[in-house]
C-alpha cells in the first residue's frame, strides 16, 4: 500500500486504463473467438458418451473379444487426456475473459447466449 501511495503520478493513467478496459466489451467478438475451443469440447464430450455407451455394451456382452475391450480402453484413456487438457485450456481462457473483459454478469450472460448461437451455426451440436 505504501509503495502504491507513492505512485500518484500514475493515478490518471490508472483511471484511463480502467475506463478503456471497461468500455471495450465486445461479447460478439469474444464469443466467436471462444467458440472454436468450445466446439472441440462439445465434440469431445459427445465422443466420451459414445465411448461410454460402447464400453457398457462390451462389458455386458460376455462373449466379447478381450482385444476389443483393450483397444476401446486405450481410446478412452487418450480421449480422457485430450478432454482434461482441453478443459484446462478452456478454464484458463474463461478465467481470463471473466477477469479482464466480462466482469459484469450481464456481459457474461450475453456472451453465453451468443456462444450458443455461434456454435449452433457452426454445426457442433448433434441431437
Amino acid at each position: 500500500m505504501a509503495a502504491f501511495c507513492t505512485m500518484k503520478k500514475y493515478y490518471l493513467f490508472t483511471i484511463l486504463f480502467i475506463i478503456s478496459c471497461t468500455q471495450k466489451v465486445n461479447v460478439v467478438e469474444l464469443a466467436e473467438q471462444f467458440a472454436e475451443l468450445e466446439c472441440k469440447a462439445i465434440m469431445l464430450k459427445d465422443k466420451r458418451y459414445v465411448l461410454a455407451d460402447r464400453l457398457r455394451e462390451i462389458e455386458m456382452d460376455t462373449v466379447t473379444n478381450r482385444k476389443e475391450l483393450d483397444s476401446l480402453n486405450k481410446i478412452i484413456i487418450l480421449t480422457k487426456q485430450e478432454s482434461l487438457s482441453l478443459a484446462d485450456s478452456i478454464k484458463t481462457q474463461l478465467d481470463y475473459l471473466f477477469t479482464h473483459h466480462l466482469r459484469d454478469p450481464s456481459d457474461r450472460v450475453a456472451f453465453n447466449n451468443h456462444l450458443r448461437k455461434v456454435i449452433e451455426t457452426k454445426g457442433c451440436i448433434h441431437h
Binding site: V25, A41, I42, K45, D104
Partner: protein
C-alpha cells in the same frame, strides 16, 4: 439484439468507470492517513484470490488422481476445507474454532496463536491449504500435481509476504503448517484414511435377495460399502438424518415399486433433448470431471469470485460446504448399504423390458438414495445461507461445465438448481423418483444442520 446489449453495456460501463474513479480517489485519500494499524489485519482485509486458485487445483487434482470416486473426493475437500478455515479463524471477528464443535476433534490439540504476536492470516492459510492438499492425495499424488501445488504455494507465499516482516511471515507459515498437521492427524481416525488406495473396500459380498443391487456393468462389487461407518463431522448428521424405508420390493404391476420403475422407464423413453442435456450436465460425466462434490465446489468458487468475497467470507464458505459435502456422502452411503436397493436398469431389464437402456451409465453402487441429490441438497442449503436471507433466491449462471462441452445453465434459486440436479438422475434412467426426493430431503437436512449446529461467525463480508 446484440447491438442493444452492447449499447446498454457501454452506458453501464461508463457509469461503472465513473464510480471506479471516485473509489480510486477515496483509496488515494486513505493513503495519506496513518497506516500504523495495518499490521493487525483481519481476515476480511485479505483477498481470496489465492484460496480460489487452490480450489481450481483441487478439482484438477481430483480428476487426475487414481482412487478419487465421489465419496473419496468429498472427504478430501472436507478436510482441506477445515484446515484452511482453522488457519484463519482467529482473524475473523466472532469466529470460533471447529476444534470443540466437530465430532472427535477435541482430542487433537490445534496450535493457538501466540498472545501478543502478529500473524498474516493469508500466509497461514496458504501454508495450511497447500500442505493439507498434499496430505489428502498423498500416496497417489502424481509428480505433476505435486509440482503444481508446490508452485502455487511458493508463488502465493512470495506474493503474500511482500512488504511483511520476516518474523510475521515465518510465524504465520509455521502456524498454518501446524494446523494442517493436526487436521491431518484428525482425518486419520475417521475410517476413510487413504481410502483412495482401496475405494471398493474389498472383500464385500452383496446379499442375493431379489431387491438387492446386482452389477450393472463390468464392476462386480459396489463402491465403498463401508463408507457409511466413517465418522461424520457432525454425529447428528447421521443420527438424526437418515432416509425412511423405501417402498416394499415387488414385481406386481400394481405395486408402488413397479410404478416407480415404470416412471423411470417412461421418462427415459420419452425424454426431451433438454432432459438428456440436463442428465449429462449433472452426471459429471465419464472420465473427465472432479465428481459431483467438485462441481458444487466449483459453483461456490464461481459465486465467491463474482461476489468479490474476502478471504474471511471465502474461508467460511469453503468450511461450511466441506462439512456438508463430506457428511452428505457418509449419510447417503450409509443409506445405500443399509438398503442395498437394486438399480432401475436391473429391475426394468428383468421385469419390464429386456432391451431398456439408460441415458447415462449407472454407477456401481446401490440406488437408494441418490448421491447427487444428497450432496446438492446439502450444498443448496449452504449456498442459501451464504448468499441469501435463507430464501435461496439468487440469480446466477453456472459456467463451470463449459470446460467439459456444456453450455452454461442459469438459475434464480439454489433450491431450483438442486431440484434440477435431482431430476437429472431420473432423466438419466439411473434412479427411481424416491431415490431423488428422499436424497434431496436428507441432503437439505444435513445442510441445515451444518448451518445451525456449528457456531459460525455472522455478517462476514
Amino acid at each position: 439484439m446484440i447491438s442493444n446489449i452492447l449499447k446498454f453495456t457501454y452506458s453501464k460501463n461508463l457509469a461503472a468507470s465513473i464510480i471506479l474513479s471516485f473509489l480510486a480517489l477515496i483509496l488515494f485519500d486513505s493513503c495519506t492517513k496513518d497506516s500504523s494499524d495495518q499490521l493487525s489485519k483481519t481476515t476480511e482485509e485479505y483477498s481470496a484470490d489465492f484460496i480460489l486458485s487452490y480450489y481450481d487445483q483441487i478439482c484438477k487434482t481430483v480428476k487426475t488422481t487414481p482412487g478419487f470416486f465421489p465419496p473419496q473426493a468429498a472427504r478430501a475437500y472436507g478436510y482441506i476445507g477445515i484446515a484452511q478455515y482453522e488457519a484463519v479463524v482467529n482473524g475473523i471477528e466472532n469466529a470460533k474454532s471447529l476444534q470443540n464443535q466437530l465430532n472427535g476433534f477435541a482430542s487433537f490439540q490445534l496450535p493457538t496463536p501466540i498472545q501478543g504476536e502478529l500473524y498474516n492470516w493469508s500466509i497461514a492459510s496458504n501454508a495450511a491449504t497447500a500442505r493439507m492438499m498434499k496430505y489428502m492425495f498423498d500416496k497417489n499424488l502424481t509428480p505433476a500435481n505435486r509440482l503444481k501445488i508446490d508452485s502455487l504455494e511458493i508463488f502465493y507465499h512470495n506474493q503474500l509476504s511482500a512488504g511483511e516482516e520476516v518474523s510475521i511471515v515465518s510465524r504465520s507459515q509455521a502456524y498454518g503448517q501446524n494446523i494442517a498437521d493436526v487436521v491431518y492427524n484428525y482425518s486419520k481416525t475417521d475410517g476413510g484414511h487413504e481410502s483412495y488406495l482401496d475405494p471398493f473396500q474389498l472383500p464385500y459380498s452383496v446379499p442375493s435377495d431379489p431387491f438387492c443391487w446386482v452389477p450393472t456393468g463390468a464392476i462386480t462389487t459396489p463402491l465403498s460399502p463401508r463408507w457409511g461407518n466413517n465418522r461424520p463431522f457432525l454425529a447428528s448428521n447421521i443420527q438424526k438424518v437418515q432416509p425412511p424405508q423405501h417402498m416394499a420390493f415387488s414385481v406386481a404391476t400394481n405395486s408402488e415399486f413397479y410404478k416407480e420403475a415404470m416412471i423411470v422407464y417412461n421418462t427415459v423413453t420419452n425424454n426431451t433433448s433438454e432432459q438428456i442435456e440436463i442428465a449429462k450436465y449433472w452426471a459429471d460425466d465419464p472420465f473427465a470431471t472432479c465428481t459431483p462434490a467438485g462441481h458444487t465446489f466449483n459453483i461456490l468458487a464461481q459465486i465467491l469470485k463474482e461476489e468479490r468475497a474476502t478471504l474471511a467470507k471465502s474461508s467460511l464458505a469453503f468450511a461450511k460446504m466441506s462439512l456438508a459435502e463430506n457428511d452428505a456422502f457418509i449419510s447417503c452411503w450409509k443409506g445405500k448399504y443399509d438398503y442395498i436397493l437394486i438399480r432401475p436398469v436391473s429391475y426394468i431389464q428383468k421385469y419390464i423390458d429386456a432391451n431398456f437402456k439408460t441415458v447415462i451409465g449407472t454407477p456401481p453402487f446401490p440406488a437408494y438414495t441418490s448421491g447427487h441429490s444428497c450432496e446438492m441438497g446439502a450444498g443448496s442449503r449452504i449456498l442459501s445461507s451464504l448468499f441469501t436471507n435463507g430464501s435461496g433466491d439468487y440469480q446466477f449462471t453456472d459456467y463451470s461445465q463449459l470446460q467439459y462441452g456444456f453450455f452454461a445453465r442459469s438459475y434464480s434459486n439454489f433450491e431450483e438448481m438442486a431440484q434440477e440436479c435431482a431430476d437429472s438422475r431420473l432423466y438419466g434412467g439411473i434412479h427411481y423418483p424416491i431415490d431423488n426426493s428422499k436424497g434431496l430431503q436428507v441432503g437439505k437436512a444435513i445442510g441445515d444442520n451444518v448451518n445451525k449446529e456449528i457456531i459460525w461467525p455472522l455478517f462476514v463480508r
